[in-house]
Symmetry: D2
Subunit: 371 residues, 4 copies
């Protein structure tokens, strides 16, 4: 006898777990197959910024509204998930400061500053808000609505809530093959086989191994990010600060998280001496006093990058029963709720914003191939 | 040149840090001297139950009102501390269930059940609330107002808030000697000497080393408690349960904390095989399914026990400038806010409930000496 | 351009790394593809007993001589590997004591005791050798030649030595597919594709996922083993002791390793409360004093079990370029050198003991199928 | 009833444990009182170089012969301790290379190079021995006899062997006071009182707290050293290298240990961002490839420094029953055996080299006081 599910989700990172949660809420019979342990890969490495504004990079058509809807979803989720499963997702206000050391930095912030919810802070205001910040700054763009969460806590809260609502979560169950059958799919895992009507490929950067097998000429490239955290004994920093691809995030456990390098095409998940040196140097530029703080820990994760840095969310072009929810690059934490909702709506054939469907479909036009 | 403080606090556990916080709020110039790292001793080992009812043991004159005032203080502290320092103390409602397997268990609960806020739950109600609990139970006393916190988070929030309010926190600074001087005291630490008008002895079970030196015929006895935590993947348990000196506490990080042994007069802070075996057996009696859960970690701590199991809080009988705040046994987390407030009031010469002064003074009558 | 190797080895546990070492010594161009980190799966969980006698279970035709040749290989390897790569494999003499509490235990030891190198020790001799052992024993079979190593150290020494000799070790590189090509094979990994003339399937219990894909009606079943280690402050135990599937191994880092449960068909690699409870109870039966020792850590691993509990070592029945080296169940540490040598000899077409070829070939007769 | 010992040793670092071992071998009734856990303070932070030559700094009268006798003792200890207690101290040959990047570096090495056992290696020889070393070097002084050990392993082997020989080791037992009595001393620890004929003050940098209490105008200053270790997958480095107060030590567990900063008068035992940055930079100067290696862990320790950087070993000037064995600064691992032997000989009134007595006595002339 073989187990049957309505939906089988491959990957138990924040994306797979979000999908499981939103489907389980609709009483779908859903199962997650996680090769390792829930959330322990890229999700556990993330800073946890919900940077709808700070990450939008000028894409106000699809990315920005999608990201904002996800951000809004979080403000409800924090209560809902806590109520359901008892976990606390560490939702924390404060906003993000994008720093400008000079006019060129400031120019780069123009597009963000044009948004109504973002404001410019001059040097004085800034140093009142954050007295320990570098005194070489011109000012900063203050994005009050870009808040933080604890990524692992969100992921575990999704997984546990999904389970409480009836979903099955299988850890240590890597999926090896997806076979088409008459009415659905046969999924082969190390631990056995199951059948499902729908399959969602949501295993982060490792999704790339299924693309060819499923007849798709697409690829994900890992962009490794290395981080470290320090113990902030006093209160050196209250807001997340950001400059030159580096950030410092204050956590509600008293740690400052410093991130992150961007090393393309490196599958090794350990932290190099070089990486650590780089981010210490950048952190000191923003917050000189950080040099005296004491190290707590270090880690790395692999961001799943697509050719245009936007995720692949939607149906397989020829095989409706297969869906993708992957390639979230730097923004998987931010986008997890909206991704879960979109996959739910696609499976339940509810209405989905067409801009998003087009922008995120896996067979959208790719200008040139990665080699 | 020697540093001078109004108040020097020996010990940076939850008690010392609470005192520092309440004094710093009054703009006192206060310093904590911690031999190791903030909170890493007994405080870090605690379950975090605020068991004003469940621990009161019939003492409605002093312990219970003192404990209740402390419990109330927590409901305000969670916002105040978060606002001030950004840390989250993990305050979590849900209450405590004291289980009765038979009539004799039930009889022991009579005194608690006589309290207006505590109610009896029969077997059916109980198994609806907690479906995985043992089916051999008669019922349970439900103490809804006995909530939980994360002990380390509270301690760090006190310490960090105190620092932000101007207090000095010295880690790795064990105090060796307290010398009387003309206008106060000279405190010798490994890292140097300081002067203070008031000295508060708040170094948990290690306070015992100062008693003789300060001319007091008192002692503290360590009662070692060993614990372990498991990963609760689904939601096996929602409320803290308690029976036969053992408890299981659900944490907002998805862990169940199982505690604790009581080994008298053992100063060794490591966990023995015996200890682990004992608490696993007890936990299975209460919650049979727990046997299948996976272990997360294990640890031990030393409860500071006085001859009558009530803390020593108050002035030295002959030396007004020396105060004690120690011997909190099983209830230091619960009693930390009230202890901090009482020491503050004693130093600022504000009014203090006389029952408490009498019940907790270090020179109260000891019926027989511990040998 | 695609990388080409003479031999591609799937799996970087002790088996894969041993093969890489023996081939690299012959100047073969070899690469290991490890999905995770070298040795971190079953290998890291092992006790490290080289139990040629204690594990032979009456099979004196193939298993025993194969195991003995492996044991002998270790006595040379310890110097060779250290010289080459600087690592110390923790080779430690002392032997294994198989305990008999009663006549029935003693009868079970008859077959082992019939071997010339094994001797019976009576109660008195035993309690002189191991004063803290249970006083309820009849005696023990003393297998002096069954020594210990540190499994992770061996595995890393094989890997590092192989690298120094020219082999390529790829971590974080799971293999997904093996395709036949004209002159060899195409191996697909997450991190790209490579070509090889020979492919060795050596990925422990996860080898099972390749069997069907390669047209073989075989399976491996995980048998999970849970362990813990304690700190032996004095010298409670000098020799490895063994009874009723449980053992206690003294390590040269001052730890006693206690193992292990045998949970069939469980792919989850975490330790359960039940498991811990079971092995503590068994350890106390053998060595009552162990109850007071302090816990150091705990872990679990998955033994790869075949239908007859002997490994699969040899060519694919139809495809000479594919070889298997897997299914080493409880004895992968013991058998690693002999397995590496046998695969080397098969690839280099040197002579190999025919009894071994027949006993370990993957298409040997399986009396009934596992379902 | 109070416990009585012939010798009470305060401190269970490598120095205290060595003394316990050498006294226990002479059947003395000895007890160690360790405030925390054996070896977990400065000892566990050390690199483990036995740098008799490289550290001697021109002192050929006392330091050098003392250090050499200690180094020789190690070559026997490795067998003796292993035989007695089963632990392996990680003794590893290979020697130390003191690098010269320019003529000025080379001049500094003259004094070392004048020693018969030390030789100069030119650039070519050096790059054959260590192909990955910086190509900007002139050459190096090769001190073949300066070998390595694993400091924690040595310390635990001393402790365990001492126990097996009859010594008592008390962990979690800080000593607070030493009182003179009629025939010996009363030692107050947290865990109770004991009597002893001799007291040895061997608690590393914390010994400083007893000096004043014992009427001595001496002080120890902590010199904090921060380290990190990386995983050396291939064999990037075979010998210990040393330059500009920084070193890289290859360990037999495949790690390279990089050390160390020297921060005076800092009692905090955690690692700062600054410290890490500094040693990474220095390590890259010596071994550029190290930049790509992956971090394993980081830690810090406090070196106990005396006014002239030589240890205090010997009797209290007025109180024969009190001895000191402390202030070993950068060389406590190297000097542990010789220190243990010297204290043994002083207590047993055997003959001791008079140069050493004079050079290391605590009341030797201090040219100017540290303030
Ligand atoms: C340093 C760093 C900082 C970041 N900061 C932020 C941030 O501040 N905000 C933000 O929004 N995003 C951030 N990100 C990005 C974010 O972490 C990712 O976009 C997100 O975690 C992707 O989630 P995922 O579930 O797709 O992938 P993962 O978390 O990697 O989950 C995929 C899962 O699939 C499993 N798996 C793989 N193969 C298989 C298989 N064959 N079968 C079954 N299971 C399989 C894996 O074990 C894994 O658990 C950051 C990333 C990094 C590295
Ligand atoms: C297993 C267990 C479970 C528990 N559960 C609960 C619970 O659920 N609810 C509850 O209310 N209570 C609980 N307790 C009790 C509670 O943990 C203690 O009462 C409380 O932590 C005592 O706090 P403290 O600050 O006095 O001691 P500590 O936390 O031990 O702090 C004392 C500090 O003093 C420092 N110190 C020692 N000597 C010196 C010196 N000479 N100089 C400077 N510093 C020094 C130490 O390093 C330490 O940090 C539990 C205890 C245990 C062991
Ligand atoms: C508790 C316990 C105690 C034991 N004690 C002993 C003992 O005392 N003596 C003894 O001889 N044996 C002992 N064993 C057995 C021994 O540990 C195993 O037989 C041995 O480790 C098997 O080695 P392996 O290399 O085949 O497997 P593993 O060590 O599991 O290595 C397989 C490797 O393959 C990798 N991998 C998996 N899939 C892929 C893929 N698709 N692509 C690339 N890589 C992949 C994995 O990540 C893993 O690293 C014990 C086992 C256990 C669990
Ligand atoms: C980064 C670094 C690298 C080094 N590298 C080397 C090297 O390569 N070679 C070398 O020879 N040396 C090296 N050293 C120096 C060496 O580590 C020290 O000299 C040595 O460890 C000192 O040993 P100890 O036993 O005196 O001190 P410790 O190891 O500090 O032991 C003292 C013990 O006393 C205990 N204690 C303190 N107070 C009390 C009390 N009141 N009662 C009871 N117990 C107490 C402490 O808990 C501690 O365990 C290095 C040091 C550092 C920091």
């Amino acid at each position: 006898m073989i187990d049957k599910f309505e939906v089988a989700i491959i990957g138990g990172g924040i994306i797979g777990c979000s999908i499981a949660y939103y489907l389980a809420k609709e009483k779908m019979n859903v199962a997650v197959f996680e090769g390792n342990q829930i959330g322990m890969k890229t999700t556990s490495a993330a800073g946890g910024m919900l940077g709808a504004h700070s990450e939008c990079d000028g894409d106000f058509d699809a990315f920005f509204p999608f990201a904002r809807s996800s951000q809004f979803a979080y403000s409800e989720l924090k209560e809902q998930l806590n109520h359901l499963c008892g976990l606390d997702i560490g939702y924390r206000k404060g906003g993000i400061l994008k720093l400008a050391f000079n006019e060129s930095d400031r120019n780069e912030l123009q597009s963000i500053l044009s948004q109504p919810t973002v404001k410019w802070l001059d040097k004085e205001t800034l140093s009142e808000m954050e007295p320990h910040i570098s005194n070489k700054l011109l000012g900063a763009a203050y994005i009050e609505e870009d808040v933080n969460v604890l990524p692992m806590a969100v992921c575990q809260a999704f997984a546990k809530s999904a389970q409480i609502l009836g979903a099955t979560i299988n850890e240590y169950s890597p999926v090896h093959n997806i076979h088409k059958k008459e009415n659905g799919f046969l999924i082969e895992t190390t631990t056995g086989q199951v059948e499902a009507e729908y399959v969602v490929v949501a295993n982060g950067v490792w999704s790339t191994t299924f693309f060819k097998q499923l007849g798709l000429d697409r690829q994900l490239m890992p962009v490794k990010g290395e981080c470290l955290s320090v113990i902030d004994e006093k209160m050196t920093l209250k807001h997340t600060i950001f400059h030159d691809h580096c950030y410092i995030v204050p956590r509600s456990n008293g740690r400052l998280v410093i991130g992150a390098t961007s090393i393309e095409n490196d599958w090794n998940e350990k932290v190099s001496l070089d990486g650590i040196e780089t981010i210490i140097a950048k952190a000191k530029t923003m917050l000189p006093n950080i040099a005296h703080l004491k190290i707590d820990s270090f880690w790395a994760g692999l961001r799943p990058q697509t050719f245009d840095r936007k995720p692949f969310i939607g149906h397989h072009p020829e095989e409706e029963g297969i869906l993708f929810a992957t390639g979230h690059y730097r923004n998987g934490i931010l986008l997890a709720p909206a991704t879960g909702q979109m996959i739910r709506d696609l499976i339940l054939k509810r209405q989905v914003n067409n801009e998003w469907v087009e922008a995120f479909k896996i067979d959208r036009h790719q200008p040139f191939a990665i080699k």
